[in-house]
């Protein structure tokens, strides 16, 4: 099972990752990150398939995926 | 080495090559074009690059890239083209990049005309571009001096990591005189640490950009850095030639071609018993204030001699004399400078002061 690792400190809350995640692993939150943006959150119930779409769309290098 | 007969522009170009300059980017404009024409074939012979760019703007900004890579780089222009170079000169200064930029001065503002003039003094010495900068400006009076100053200009530029301007004019650029050319040198582009090359793994990143960003809190450190840099230039780089100024009652101040006419005027005046002398600034900036400190108490007045309408150098002369001596101006626009007129003016001045 793939694992998505998000560096929430870097997140600017653009949610491009959530818009491309086919499994809804990454979803918007209303929680504020250290930069003052509402950041992304991870739905622990959902399973990451390691497609890399979120990684490819993140402009702020917040996301890595491991097998 | 034996002397050769060469046109001023071509001799200057050859001298730059011999100083190790291997990059030229520029655009045709009279009376500078021979430099571009000469380097278009000669650069190939020495293994350098000569690019005829789409504009003067592209010329100076392409030079900035080559200079950033550590090359000894040259661009040359005249009058209207020199206005377009100003953007790049400001960027070179702000980025601490050495380069040599030659303005073969022509006459007039707007298009003006292609013949002899000295109307770019303010633009050369005040910093024609935006911001807070100065540049060393070298002003030769002969083909030989063009060669000598151009040869040393690259060293000077690298000494300060700063562009150096050379102000020749249409007469010096176009006339043919015997010159002795210096030895051919090669310049290693990795001579200086600042020269940009790719980052090796583990090295810190380097950027050539507005220099104050290089220091943490650079915005507060930059003013002192600039004041020291420009202060050192003013203290160490003033150059001039004094001609019979020791006993002169009227001292002319003239540079470039005008200085040659002034020298003839001294011979003519002295035959008539008029004690005329000359201070010839070789650096227009830093202006050779020290030359004026050496003047004796016998000096009655100063005559600023320039080929322009407004007497652009006069303010600097007044500042250099501490406003203690009367300063008059003799200039021509359309006609050649006249040694006869200079002697007449000197006589008038002696009767007045």
């Amino acid at each position: 099972m793939s694992k998505v690792i998000v560096d929430f400190k870097r997140c600017k809350g653009c949610f491009l990752c959530t818009s491309v995640c086919p499994k809804g692993v990454l979803i918007p939150s209303t929680q504020l990150g250290p930069k003052g943006f509402e950041i992304v959150q991870q739905d622990e119930e959902k399973e990451c398939i390691g497609c890399g779409a979120c990684y490819k769309m993140c402009p702020d290098y917040c996301i890595e995926i491991t097998d | 080495m034996a002397k050769v007969l060469m046109k001023g522009n071509e001799a200057l170009a050859e001298s730059c090559l011999r100083a190790g300059c291997r990059f030229f980017s520029g655009y045709p404009i009279t009376p500078q074009t021979e430099i571009l024409e000469y380097l278009c074939w000669r650069m190939d012979e020495v293994g350098g690059k000569c690019v005829q760019t789409e504009s003067e703007l592209a010329g100076v900004n392409m030079l900035l890239g080559a200079a950033a890579g550590g090359m000894r780089a040259l661009t040359t222009t005249s009058g209207p083209g020199f206005s377009l170079k100003q953007e790049g000169i400001s960027y070179l200064c702000g980025s601490d990049l050495p380069a040599v930029i030659v303005d073969v001065q022509r006459i007039g503002d707007a298009l003006g005309d292609i013949f002899m003039g000295q109307g770019d003094y303010w633009q050369l010495t005040r910093g024609g571009g935006h911001g807070d900068y100065r540049t060393i400006v070298l002003a030769p009076e002969s083909v030989q001096e063009s060669v000598d100053l151009a040869y040393g200009a690259f060293d000077l530029a690298e000494k300060y990591r700063h562009p150096v301007l050379i102000a020749t004019d249409a007469t010096i650029g176009q006339m043919i005189e015997p010159v002795e050319l210096p030895e051919m040198k090669e310049h290693d582009i990795d001579t200086y640490d600042w020269a940009l090359k790719p980052r090796e793994e583990g090295e810190p990143q380097r950027a050539i950009w507005n220099r104050y960003w290089d220091w943490e809190d650079g915005g507060h450190k930059y003013p002192a850095y600039c004041l020291e840099k420009y202060g050192k230039m003013e203290a160490e780089e003033q150059r001039w030639e004094s001609v019979q100024a020791d006993d002169a009652e009227i001292v002319m101040v003239a540079y470039g071609t005008s200085a040659r006419v002034a020298k003839s005027a001294i011979v003519r005046a002295r035959k008539e018993g008029i004690k005329l002398g000359l201070i010839r600034p070789i650096t227009l900036w830093p202006f050779p204030k020290k030359a004026f400190d050496e003047l004796g108490g016998q000096v009655k007045a100063i005559l600023d001699v320039e080929r322009n309408i407004l007497g652009q150098m006069k303010d600097d002369v007044i500042l250099a004399t501490g406003n203690k001596l009367p300063v008059e101006f003799y200039g021509e626009y359309w006609d050649n400078m006249s040694e006869i007129k200079i002697v007449e003016i000197a006589k008038e001045m002696l009767s007045k002061y």
Binding site: S2, K12, K56 | S25, N61, L64, A68, G69
Partner: protein, 246 residues
């Protein structure tokens, strides 16, 4: 499959682009293309002023900041000084197609052996979203508040139509609005860098890139805007590929 941040991305700092800006994605695919080719120690970049300049904080490459609009000319000069290096200029559409169009055109005409990656968001970004040459017909910007009127403002500039007349090595348009387009654009960058290594000449990749702030839409809507509108006026694809597929 593993997806890890490229080592040429500087994770010790963060560029201050607006949320959802395409610049960050473009810097990532540049570094990935470079790393896949194994040429990290050969790259020099030339940044434009304004938003693109932040790229130097995102990427670790040594860099020169050119004057606005002169990035490509400065890159050509740097390439003369360092012919063994891979020189990448990163202007925006305002820089490369408005103030710097002469240098863009002449680098193509001279076939300077450099790569220009033009981040095209159809506006002047840093100055607050004014109309650029690549502003689409009818598109509202700070200087075309009622929409770009071609009678008043002139027609939109599609650089591929102009440069297709030249003998440059490679001309393509990508986008970073979807994961698939991002991958395709990365392949274009890789191809162009290979061409530079082969000495083929001038490569320009126009990359359609989101500017949610100045387009005044959400980050996700900005991606959709590229798909439904910007790429309709400015079609994606390869327009010149002199060396062909290798």
């Amino acid at each position: 499959m593993n997806f890890t941040i490229p080592k040429d991305i500087d994770m010790t700092q963060q560029a201050s682009w607006c949320p959802g800006c395409g610049h960050g994605i473009i810097c990532r695919i540049i570094t990935e293309a470079v790393e896949e080719l194994g040429v990290s120690n050969k790259v020099l970049t030339v940044d434009d002023v304004a938003c693109g300049q932040f790229g130097q904080f995102a990427m670790k490459y040594n860099t020169v900041m050119g004057a606005h609009g002169r990035t490509i000319a400065t890159a050509a000069g740097l390439k003369h000084a360092r012919p063994d290096c891979l020189v990448i200029a990163r202007p925006g559409d305002g820089s490369a197609y408005s103030i710097g169009i002469e240098s863009t055109l002449y680098s193509a005409i001279r076939n300077d052996n450099i790569l220009a990656i033009v981040i095209n968001n159809s506006v002047f970004g840093m100055t607050g979203g004014q109309m650029s040459p690549a502003t689409l017909p009818g598109m509202k910007t700070a200087t075309s508040p009622f929409g770009r009127d071609e009678k008043k403002n002139g027609s939109m500039l599609d650089i591929t139509k102009i440069l297709s007349q030249t003998d440059m090595a490679y001309l393509a348009r990508g986008a970073v609005n979807t994961p698939a387009n991002t991958e395709k654009t990365k392949k274009m960058i890789k191809k162009a860098l290979e061409k530079q290594m082969n000495g083929e000449g001038f490569c320009l990749i126009d990359v359609l890139s989101m500017c949610p702030t100045n387009w005044k839409m959400s980050e996700i809507d900005a991606c959709e805007f590229i798909k439904t509108t910007q790429s309709k006026y400015l079609p994606l694809g390869e327009f010149i590929d002199k060396g062909g597929d290798k």
